[in-house]
């Protein structure tokens, strides 16, 4: 007897439909699985056999052959347990063929027949809809995640028994999601929490949960750095904060997600897909609706940052898609790791080629870096800094020119004096909500103009949108002559000036906007002096 069950595999960011074919026939008793399987898939047979046995179904001593087709795609992950089990049930006649028609199955089985959560349900369901599937049977934990795709019936199940009941006789009874919440939660109370313990390295600093973002009101002083953060957020510009240790660079960076505009629906789906593939969504947080904020430690490897592995998984930069990638103590990351960011920063995605194939992950993030200006951290405060010029240069050279080239805004976080701290604590600064309302206004203007953030404007768009008024043009000409700007710096200044004008609600870029943009350019700092080595 032969049966075919639909399931799906993840290839990079996309899901591919897979058919699990099961044949039960006469012959020497055996259980064979074929179809270019990864070792975790090969183990599926054992899990399925025991799960079926513990469910009370005896597998007759027959020759069982399972093929996952197409057989040229490498199969990884544990989601094939459920489809294979259902295929065997059907091949043995426990389930009728019509019940599994146009139904997608995915789920991992444990030996007692429970269905455990799997990765990548979101893209799988999306692919299934495109293939004409009408119903998806997914693990209970992944139900809400799959439910994000409209026009699709998602049924969350917690045990193989439940699946068998669902498919037996009465047909797939459509059950309301509310009913499901209380059903089938027998056995371990691990599931009661609705969240599985995830490896700490993969855990996002913040998924969902609006209240956790700290507020800008807590930052006293630092008008310059706050303003820079506001401009960066409004135009999605990359930002570099530097200042002495303990001045509040990290504090400011952590507050940036709170002033970024919300994810749009499409963006949200994209981000959620990445998290789904990484297995970071849960029943409680099935959907990423706030911008991610990731701050990897500087010991991170280039592979962990970019994504990789024999069977590639999204890296930290992809998890920061549409959000903030915060690199604290940036020079400590090592030039190799940082230079890896060059291509993603330019192309907003990363391509990873490995043995198993080449995959593309989105990586459109806002880079926020923080660094000390010198090894001791106090430069240019000559009263405290004891570093030699050479030491400072060597420290700053950890950030290569190409990386600096991609950072639009450079802001200094200053060490506050005692009195400033004391006076600052009394008066509340601007709240994140205030700043955010301005950012949103600027974002709306950008949306009307073409949808892109200003940071992503192409030179053609710049010449089209970045119209300078007379005084602005004069100032730019002067700056160009005086500061020996490169063409790239010219565009960068215009992009930032555009954002500043948008924050102002101004159609044209005026001299004030331009002056501010010039003041926060990279080369404005002594660190990367315009005159370069000749001045050292």
């Amino acid at each position: 007897m032969f049966s075919t069950i639909s399931t799906a595999a993840i290839c990079g960011m996309e899901a591919v439909m897979i058919q699990a074919e099961v044949d039960v026939s006469q012959g020497l008793p055996s259980f064979q699985m074929v179809g270019y399987l990864g070792s975790e898939v090969k183990e599926a047979g054992e899990r399925v056999r025991v799960a079926l046995k513990n469910m009370g179904i005896t597998i007759p001593p027959m020759r069982i052959t399972v093929n996952l087709s197409p057989a040229d795609i490498r199969k990884g992950g544990t989601g094939y347990d459920l489809p294979v089990a259902v295929g065997i049930l059907q091949a043995l006649g426990h389930v009728e063929a019509q019940q599994t028609e146009k139904v997608l199955f995915v789920g991992e089985l444990s030996l007692n027949g429970e269905v455990n959560e799997v990765r990548g349900v979101l893209p799988m369901v999306r692919a299934a809809r495109a293939e004409g599937i009408v119903r998806c049977i997914v693990p209970w934990e992944n139900e809400n995640e799959g439910a994000l795709i409209p026009d699709m019936e998602i049924i969350g199940v917690s045990s193989l028994e439940e699946v068998a009941e669902l498919l037996k006789g009465k047909g797939c009874k459509k059950r309301k999601r509310d009913d499901l919440k209380g059903t089938g939660r027998k056995g371990t109370d691990r599931k009661g929490t609705g969240e599985r313990n995830k490896p700490a390295s993969l855990q996002c600093d913040r998924i969902g949960g609006e209240g956790q973002i700290p507020d800008f009101a807590e930052v006293s002083g630092q008008a310059g750095a706050k303003r820079a953060a506001e401009i960066a957020a409004a135009g999605f510009h990359n930002l570099l904060l530097f200042g002495p240790p303990g001045s509040g660079k990290t504090m400011i960076a952590k507050r940036i997600p709170g002033i970024l505009p919300e994810l749009t629906k499409e963006e949200s789906l994209e981000v959620s897909s990445v998290y789904s593939i990484s297995g970071l969504l849960s029943r409680r947080n099935p959907f990423i609706f706030t911008r991610p904020f990731l701050s990897p430690h500087h010991t991170i490897t280039a592979q962990a940052l970019s994504g990789g592995g024999t069977h590639p998984k999204p890296g930290v930069i992809s998890l920061a898609h549409k959000g903030v990638l915060f690199l604290d103590e940036m020079p400590e990351f090592g030039s190799k790791v940082l230079d890896m960011l060059r291509q993603p920063l330019e192309e907003k995605r990363i391509r990873i080629a490995r043995l198993g194939g080449s995959y593309e992950y989105p990586a459109d993030f806002m880079l926020v870096g923080a660094m000390n200006p010198c090894p001791c951290g106090y430069y240019p405060d000559m009263g405290r800094c004891r570093c030699t010029q050479t030491a400072i240069r060597r420290y700053q050279e950890h950030l290569s020119g190409p990386i600096l080239d991609r950072i639009d805004i450079c802001a200094e976080v200053l060490a506050l004096s005692m009195e400033e701290l004391a006076s600052g604590s009394g008066q509340a600064g601007e709240t994140s909500a205030d700043i955010r309302s301005r950012v949103l206004r600027a974002r709306n203007i950008q949306e009307k103009r073409g949808g892109r953030f200003n940071a992503a404007l192409t030179p053609e768009e710049i010449s089209c949108f970045c119209e300078l008024d007379r005084e602005g043009r004069k100032l730019l000409e002067k700056a160009f002559g005086k500061m020996k700007l490169s063409a790239r710096a010219y565009y960068r200044i215009l992009r930032v000036a555009r954002t500043i004008a948008d924050l102002d609600g101004s159609k044209k870029i005026g001299k004030m906007h331009l002056a501010e943009a010039v003041s926060c350019r990279m080369a404005g700092s002594r660190y990367w002096n315009e005159t370069g080595a000749d001045d050292r």
């Binding site: 310059g224 010029q389 002056a515 501010e516 002594r526």
Partner: protein
């Protein structure tokens, strides 16, 4: 020694070109023979009488190379280039150098020579200077240049290059004495300064063009740096450093030595502080330093009004004082970097208006953005 210098020049150049002869031998030869031409015309036996065999052979070889055309031809070839040669008997040979022990036999020059009547100060210091040293060197050079005083240094990394650059920016005269040929830029990162010095100042060396940088040659050039100046200002020096050699030479030559004091714990200021302990002047301010030594009057008087640059410099200094009453952010700027926070608090201006004014000032070269959030006044 008074010769008909024009006819002697080619022979002095020839003597300079002889490989294997030292500076001392050259002086000895000219003293025994009477003039460079006389040296050229000596016979091999006469050379051997005063010199060891090896050196005599070197001289013979050099004379043979000249062939029938004589020494004049070689010199004419050399004169076609941009480098000039000023032998000791040349009337333009700096008078200050004549007075030092062990003066150079001749000087190769690209650009111009320091004016005889213009006071000159050597600013020297360590190669890996701190930000403090950098700032002090810049300030000193700017102030000296504004007063029309020549700045002499070695175009090395660190203090040397910084002070010379600052002097050029301030529109002053500055001269570099190199430890290699004047046609070679060393260190290479000072290429920009080197080119500018060729046009606006002077590059001097006692070594033949084409001589590469060799460690042994650098301490020797220091005696020319101090020899050309009336005062030696040491900005930053480690306890054991080449800069201190220059200080010793300056004292030997009877020049004033001033040192910029620093924290006693700072290794880069140890040399300076040590010098002060040994009796060097303390350079608390340039004004004071010049007054104490009186070098400004010394030469300006004989010069009758000083150089044109000097006059202009003082004027611009006064101009700056006048601007103190000027409205706007410039009033609140200082030579020490101030952060925007502080400026905003002091001026009470709106943040963006202030940034705009600061940027305007930066473009007009009146202010400098030291780092993203800090500004300082410039001149």
């Amino acid at each position: 020694m008074i010769y008909d210098w024009e006819s002697q020049q080619p022979y002095a150049y020839w003597l300079e070109c002889v490989r294997g002869l030292g500076r001392k031998t050259r002086w000895e030869l000219v003293e025994t023979a009477g003039s460079p031409q006389a040296v050229y015309e000596m016979t091999g036996e006469e050379w051997r009488a005063v010199l060891p065999e090896k050196k005599a052979q070197a001289l013979e070889r050099a004379r043979d190379e000249c062939g029938a055309k004589g020494a004049e031809d070689g010199y004419r070839q050399f004169c076609k280039g941009e480098i000039s040669y000023i032998p000791h008997m040349h009337p333009d040979y700096p008078k200050r150098l004549r007075k030092i022990p062990d003066p150079p036999f001749g000087i190769f020059l690209w650009g111009k020579l320091p004016g005889e009547q213009v006071p000159a100060v050597a600013i020297i210091g360590t190669r890996d200077c701190s930000e403090y040293g950098r700032y002090m060197a810049e300030r000193a050079a700017e102030e000296l240049a504004a007063k029309g005083i020549g700045v002499i240094s070695g175009m090395a990394r660190g203090i040397d290059g910084i002070s010379q650059r600052a002097a050029l920016r301030a529109g002053g005269n500055t001269y570099a004495v190199l430890g290699n040929g004047v046609d070679i830029c060393y260190p290479p990162e000072n290429r920009g300064l080197y080119e500018e010095l060729k046009r606006k100042g002077g590059i001097l060396s006692e070594y033949l063009p084409g001589t590469g940088p060799k460690a042994g040659l650098f301490p020797l050039r220091n005696r020319i740096i101090s020899g050309l100046s009336d005062l030696v200002l040491i900005v930053e020096a480690r306890e054991k450093s080449g800069t201190l050699i220059t200080a010793d030479m300056a004292l030997e030559q009877g020049k004033e030595v001033y040192a910029v004091p620093g924290r006693i714990t700072d290794p880069l200021s140890k040399g300076c502080n040590r010098l002060i302990k040994q009796g060097a002047g303390i350079a608390l301010s340039i004004e004071e330093m010049l007054e104490e030594t009186g070098i400004l009057n010394l030469r300006m008087e004989t010069d009758g009004g000083g150089s044109t640059e000097g006059g202009k410099g003082i004027e611009s200094l006064r101009e700056m004082d006048g601007k103190k009453e000027q409205a706007g952010i410039v009033r609140y700027l200082d030579f020490y970097p101030k952060c925007v926070e502080q400026l905003q608090k002091e001026s009470g201006m709106e943040y963006r208006q202030m940034i705009y004014e600061l940027m305007e000032l930066c473009m007009e070269n009146k202010a400098e953005q030291v780092s993203a959030g800090q500004y300082r006044r410039r001149r």
